[in-house]
Symmetry: C3
Subunit: 465 residues, 3 copies
């Protein structure tokens, strides 16, 4: 009754109206889920889980998780990569294994979701559907690289998954999903993924993995309302909130850092030394207060705090409540076509989005664009990026923020990703060539794999604490 | 009652039917405007103006202008450029300033519109909405280059604008247009464009500009019915009438020539020495008679005069009534994909459209394509181009026509545009580097600017008459 | 009553359902045609013909042909080429003449259609509409190259056409098709195509062409149900059955081979030495039996026999009934984006589609991909290609199959195509330069043209039998 449909308007609908409608639509999903879980809980003490879909952001997954004991998700690394048009080089290099940071991002997101109802210690998360072979729904459906199915399972267990399950047991010979591979062939014989599962099971019995995952030093804020906000008002046709957050996530992960994906809510902040929060549409004062009290280094911008909850430009200009942490005003913004980045130096640039900043007297300008405007600012514990950083700039900014936060990082080969969980280190080679990882092994005991890590190989090391 | 809706037909509707419907739709706009202006005039002597939109051609702007005392238009140079896909090189080079010929084209068009009701001497025209910064509606919305807002105002005053107004005074913090910049920031502080206006006001007080504009030596015909005709029947998917006319306009303006944009109506012809009329769908005998009696040099084709008013191929083949001026027949036409131009020589070619011509005995063939067909013809005062000229060919043909008409032209740097109005010369640098314009200043008194004209700079010179 | 509409389903409809609907839709066309021909035959003994459209595959042309005495089709070489996006190089090189293999493919298809009712000896086929100049319906409508109209007519007569007719006699000056050229100009004067017809008529009177065409050594199966099947379930977004069949046709024709296009029905097999059958959706046992009994060499795959008639994966895995001829199982398939072919060697590759094969012990693996999987298999008389071959691989595979079948082939210049019919050899130069064809003339009597064949030239030679 409070929100009319935002369609059939004379011109585009008011963004405030659309945002309210999207909140309403999300709330409907939450309440429908609660309706069902309430019924189940009346008759059963069994834990309740449900599967989310990666990169589906129509409703707020944190809110739905309030009523779930186990957060689970559907992980299709190759299908997701083929659908993603944002980076052609990534698509070419990782065609048979998937984007090296996309599944890890979701593992980190759903680990948080799995902790919402029962707290960090009571948290549980699974992969409900893992890709076992070519699927039937992407534009192209290539076969996973040899070893990929095992590799993906280890990425999940490394991140604290309690369970990895496959869609599906046996490939059907009929109907819409007959071209979706499974553990068994349509005739009931074992398919490749079945044998991969046998290997994983044998390997898992060799040592104890840490379920749920160790909290990281870094929190990266991912906010469903912000996703809706910038879909409603991209201002430049290629502006994607999800892609913006992923840029920062990728830069962090390329430094070998464990990341917690969190909502912009005070209670989500733990002992994080660095909080990264690009593009948050509307900031709550309470969240900013909690961030400040945590003492963490903050990395924010662009667009962070630029609107209020009613989708209006904040009073006295962006970044609104963030000004409590960094004394600057965004007077103007521009979106730019791909052929016209704002160049900073030979390698670094702002791509597609740039903000014009009026810094206060205590703010340091760390970087300037070639056309003479500040691009990177710092004030106290807070760093602000005045635009969408390209890969090199994101790497630089993240390195600076880690340094400020006193977090030790690694220099990884482009194809290598790693994660420490409990006293175990997991190392992954997403690339097409063997990579020498002796430096990361650092003389410690290898549980699985070899220091010269084969393509699509997994290396597990016992860390001495 | 006379024209049914041209939809729900078994296959595509008859082009004659669609044309009649578009005439009807345009007439509805005209009569609705008249309905309102009649009411206003009953109670007020105040002059009536209304704003047109550049490149919006759904109705006949000349016809609506019959009931207006002041023709005004909305000038968004960057927004228009970003929407225009026809020339990537133009888009890249002029991203922050706009196509060097697009706003001038519309100034020249609406100056004519402003003269339709009250005659040349009583004519008035304005820019009703001028872009003050990034807008919110183009695919990408970059910030104007430094100096661009002042620059655009001078382009308008140079062309005889009586007034330049901005959309809008203050950027709203709410609703659909919150990302559209204004003279004031959302918090009421002055934005860049406000300061540009202060500068323009100070500069305008230094001398008297000529309102309305001096009639040019060259008339370029732009016809709304032709725009509709070739939308209805492009015959090649990239054929655009507007873009064809703009090619000739650009070639003229690159020669430093003042151009009047006129409708194909006898009364629109003044003391023009050259009349350029590409692509006019259907020619009136009365217009051709007036053209002939004017003694002007005529530059026509392709497609000029190829249909009658009922959207049928003219009797005894195109160019119909134009044959009165140039004795040739178009037997066949072809549209061609971008990769297959009809080459004339190393630089010149017909692009996308070519006509096969049977010239009469008195017609000279001035140019031949490499595959052996006439490409450029002349007969008496009339020049006919048998296709869509590429940039180099358009430049050549226009130079030849100006020469035939005895009109003095200039050799301008690629980024420079100029306009003489009354005894004042205005010179504009659309480019990224300073350009020495001493030759155009020619030792005369500089009112504003410097002979070495800075990027996005304006140079105003008092001509001794 | 038996098949509901396959729309308004919650997600995509079941492919079995869509296939049944498409069979029903095709059957409706067949029965409507029969309804009319039955009426005509009640009152008339005149032969009945109808025109098919090339590359229109909505209904089964073989089935409609059961009720026709003369199969005819509409041949627009340039319009068809402009619509076809599959090969840019073909499009550029043959812009004014059309794909060298597209019209021949249809001639061979409709020759078969024309024999369905009255048998091979009673078969009749025509070109009902031949393109006479630029048309009005393709994205671009270039003029045919000089000589093209005559050239096309000879391609048809060479393939056994009884008659070539033009659309249309006179170009209308009005309505939707006013830009479609004809034999006469809108004013009634002769257009180019009229003069081409005069020349063809004179040439035809010099010797006797063979109507209907001589059966070829090679049968290439083209199946309308398979076209529907892979439209319903492409599995990779660029998978086209028609294009797959055309690849094999082109490779055959580049070897100077006459090809019969046939349906996958036992009665369609004559004295063919080689039967090529890529991509047939569902194989009938009866067809496989007939193929086996014919003793012909068989070239099959990919996807051949992978489903049963109900659009389910065949029992005990693909290639289903084909396993009777070649002992292998397809366990997995993958579709791949254009940038990621499965490389075999420097020139040869599988493009977009690859199958993983378990060969039986008696099967020879003739080729392997660089990533270690079998790409080409042979067992007895049957050759199986485990993917979509690129041009070079298709050429290789076809050469090997022709060799196995003992069919003599030619090495033709890239622009040359040829056809022997009765005791006459026809040679065509689709290219932009003259080509010396003395080797194909081989000292025999030239009826039309010259051994050094001019661009778009036709050479007719009397073979001594």
């Amino acid at each position: 009754d409070e929100v009319e449909l935002p369609n059939l308007t004379v011109t585009e609908p008011n963004p405030s109206h659309v945002m309210d409608f999207r909140r309403y639509a999300s709330a409907q999903v939450v309440s429908f889920n609660k309706l069902q879980t309430d019924i189940i809980r009346k008759y059963s003490d069994a834990p309740i889980g449900h599967n989310f879909m990666g990169a589906f952001t129509e409703f707020d997954h944190y809110d739905v998780s309030q009523d779930l004991d186990i957060a689970t998700w559907d992980n299709y690394p190759i299908g997701m990569l083929d659908r993603d048009a944002s980076d052609v080089e990534i698509k070419r290099r990782y065609l048979g294994i998937g984007d090296p940071d996309m599944q890890a991002f979701h593992h980190d997101l759903y680990r948080t979701c799995g902790q919402i109802r029962n707290g960090v210690d009571g948290g549980r998360w699974w992969v409900m559907e893992q890709q076992p072979g070519p699927v039937n729904w992407a534009p192209y459906n290539p076969a996973p690289d040899p070893g990929a199915v095992r590799f993906w399972a280890w990425e999940a267990f490394a991140a604290g998954a309690e369970l990895v399950s496959y869609f599906r047991w046996r490939q059907p010979s009929f109907a819409q999903e007959q071209m979706h591979e499974a553990l068994l062939l349509p005739n009931g014989e074992f398919n490749e993924a079945y044998h991969a599962c046998e290997q994983i099971s044998a390997e898992l019995s060799q040592f104890e993995t840490v379920a749920n995952g160790t909290p990281g030093d870094v929190a990266l804020v991912f906010d469903y309302e912000s996703q809706w906000a910038w879909e409603i008002q991209p201002q430049g046709e290629d502006f994607s909130y999800f892609e913006l957050v992923k840029r920062f996530y990728r830069a962090l992960r390329k430094k070998g850092i464990n990341v917690d994906i969190i909502p912009p809510r005070p209670e989500a902040i733990a002992n994080h030394k660095l909080i990264v929060m690009p593009g948050i549409f509307a900031l709550d004062d309470s969240f900013i207060d909690a961030v400040e009290q945590s003492g963490a280094i903050v990395l924010a911008g662009p667009r962070t705090g630029s609107k209020n909850k009613d989708f209006q430009i904040v009073e006295d200009l962006p970044p609104g409540p963030l000004r409590h942490l960094v004394d600057l005003k965004i007077t103007r913004v521009e979106s730019r076509p791909p052929f016209a980045p704002i160049v900073i130096d030979k390698e670094r640039a702002l791509e597609g989005w740039r903000e014009f900043v009026q810094p206060g007297v205590d703010v340091s300008e760390l970087m300037k664009s070639k056309d003479g405007h500040g691009a990177l600012f710092e004030h106290g514990n807070t760093i602000y990026v005045a635009g969408r950083p390209n890969t090199e700039l994101a790497n630089h900014v993240v390195a600076h923020a880690l340094d400020r936060a006193g977090i030790k990082s690694h220099k990884l080969h482009r194809d290598i990703r790693m994660r420490d969980n409990g006293n175990i280190r997991y190392i992954f080679n997403y690339g097409p060539e063997p990579v020498d990882c002796a430096q990361l092994v650092n003389g410690q005991k290898i549980l699985i794999g070899q220091a010269v890590l084969e393509p699509k190989g997994v290396l597990v090391v016992a860390l001495q604490n």
